[in-house]
């Protein structure tokens, strides 16, 4: 029974992996669907936010580039600012070592109000072709990818860089919310590698 279960799991893993392999998130195309658990064990799917602008933020609490945006309060401030404009902010943790409990602990420690989804098997990260943390995606009201890439223009883990940088995500969000074309829909992400299993 145990063996059969494992086999079935392996099959499922293979199926979902090959299923996603060609579904890389491209600007202007439909964003890959997902349903993952947040830090409280509650399922969060892209589908349930249909009709809203969604930001996906690839997350790993051990990555200095992620730490930079949280310890300065920058990421929470951005999420809060755009929450007022009905934008859904979701962090996705594709680190092989992530658990709901770890995400809950870090959400409390860093006062994170938005969900941190557990993608320990990496399927959603690979579906989006997320390679770094923090890799950022904006999904428009039609469910299409409107922006993918870096959070801002200065590739550095120093906190001082935030104030000097152009925040690409804020800029693209303003354009998406104003229904104007996104002037820079894709940039090269920077950060730590996503710690896939």
């Amino acid at each position: 029974m145990f063996k059969t279960g494992l086999f079935a799991l392996a099959l499922m893993a293979t199926a979902s992996f090959t299923g996603f392999a060609s579904a890389e998130a491209k600007v202007g195309e439909a964003a890959p669907a997902f349903s993952l658990q947040d830090q409280d064990g509650k399922a969060v799917s892209l589908d349930e936010h249909k009709g809203k602008v969604v930001v996906l933020e690839w997350f790993n609490e051990e990555c200095p580039f992620v730490v930079k945006h949280y310890k300065t309060g920058n990421m929470n401030a951005l999420a809060a600012k755009y929450a007022e404009k009905d934008v859904v902010w979701i962090a996705v943790n594709s680190s092989n070592f992530t658990t709901n409990d770890k995400n809950k602990a870090i959400a409390e420690k860093w006062s994170i109000k938005h969900p941190i989804l557990n993608d320990a098997n990496g399927a959603t990260g690979k579906a989006y072709d997320a390679k770094t943390t923090p890799d950022m995606f904006i999904i428009n009201k039609d469910g299409k990818v409107a922006y993918k890439g870096a959070i801002d223009s200065i590739k550095d883990s120093d906190s001082e860089s935030i104030a000097k940088a152009t925040n690409y995500v804020a800029k693209a969000l303003d354009e998406v919310l104003a229904d104007t074309a996104v002037s820079q829909a894709e940039t090269k992400p920077y950060g730590c590698s996503v710690k896939y299993k």
């Binding site: 200095p64 990260g125 890439g149 550095d156 894709e186 090269k188 730590c192 710690k195």
Partner: protein, 271 residues
């Protein structure tokens, strides 16, 4: 009592901070070295920024690959001194889970620049050369580190002698060369294809694409047939259109018959 309380709290906090407790400075040792014992006015000499990296950890080349950050250097030189562009040795490639490709160095690397001293006989001795160095060192986690490194050299009329010769030879030989020198016989680069012909057997031939904020390289494939290597790749702008590589120089790395890692500069061509 407050001291013990603080110790107790610190001990409690340790598990949460394990990843951050190791700082990038302990994992990487940085030194500044020169290939001369003294500075002669008006003359040039080489300096090396040598990083010694904890085993199993790595630091990054000018193009770090899918993630990571290159080693960054800011010179702090006395007035009148100038530094050339920094040379980075031919890197190695590492592939992490999820097919995340990185380019960089393990164990040890030395970046080299040529410094030119100003003309004139009133140079203050010793001359203090200094640099701020920043790096990101990664294994399962990434940790940023930085150091200010300095070197004192006497200013001298004529008694400068060579120094650190073996070290400079090792790393100078590993700098990508822009000339067609043995064992390379011929190099051609057309859009998306690089062909190299060799006069002796080489192994581990790899293409290291240049750093660029606008161009993405993918589908890099290296085929070895006898003493000919054919490398194909796709270079696209972020909008998915074919990219021009004018001014973007890549590097082909290889191991020569004497088991030394070497590199060749591959000038970018218009797409």
């Amino acid at each position: 009592m407050p001291f013990f309380l603080a110790m107790f709290l610190a001990a409690l906090a340790i598990p949460t901070f394990v990843a951050h407790a190791q700082d990038g400075k302990g994992l990487v040792k940085a030194e500044l070295l020169a290939d001369t014992t003294a500075i002669v006015p008006g003359k040039s000499f080489n300096v090396g920024i040598r990083l010694t990296v904890e085993p199993a950890w790595h630091v990054y080349w000018t193009n770090p690959g899918d993630a990571g950050l290159p080693i960054r250097v800011t010179w702090k030189l006395p007035e009148g001194f100038t530094a050339s562009d920094l040379q980075f040795p031919t890197p190695i490639k590492f592939v992490q889970p999820g097919d995340i490709v990185g380019y960089g160095y393990e164990q040890e690397v030395m970046l080299i620049a040529t410094i030119t001293a100003p003309v004139g006989d009133r140079m203050k001795s010793p001359v203090v050369l200094s640099a701020d160095v920043k790096w990101l060192v990664c294994k399962d986690v990434c940790i940023p580190g930085k150091a200010t490194i300095a070197l004192d050299l006497p200013a001298s009329g004529d008694d400068a002698k060579p120094a650190n010769q073996d070290l400079f030879k090792t790393w100078t030989d590993r700098m990508p060369t822009a000339n067609v020198l043995a064992p390379l016989v011929d190099l051609s680069h057309n859009a998306g294809q690089i062909r190299l012909d060799w006069s002796s057997d080489v192994t581990e031939v790899q293409f290291f694409p240049p750093a660029s904020d606008d161009v993405t390289f993918s589908d890099i494939d290296v085929k070895q047939a006898g003493r000919t290597t054919t490398i194909t790749y796709k270079a696209e702008s972020l909008d998915g259109k074919p990219a021009s590589l004018a001014g973007l120089n890549g590097v082909v790395g290889y191991i020569d018959k004497d088991n030394h890692r070497r590199g060749i500069v591959v000038p970018g061509v218009k797409g």
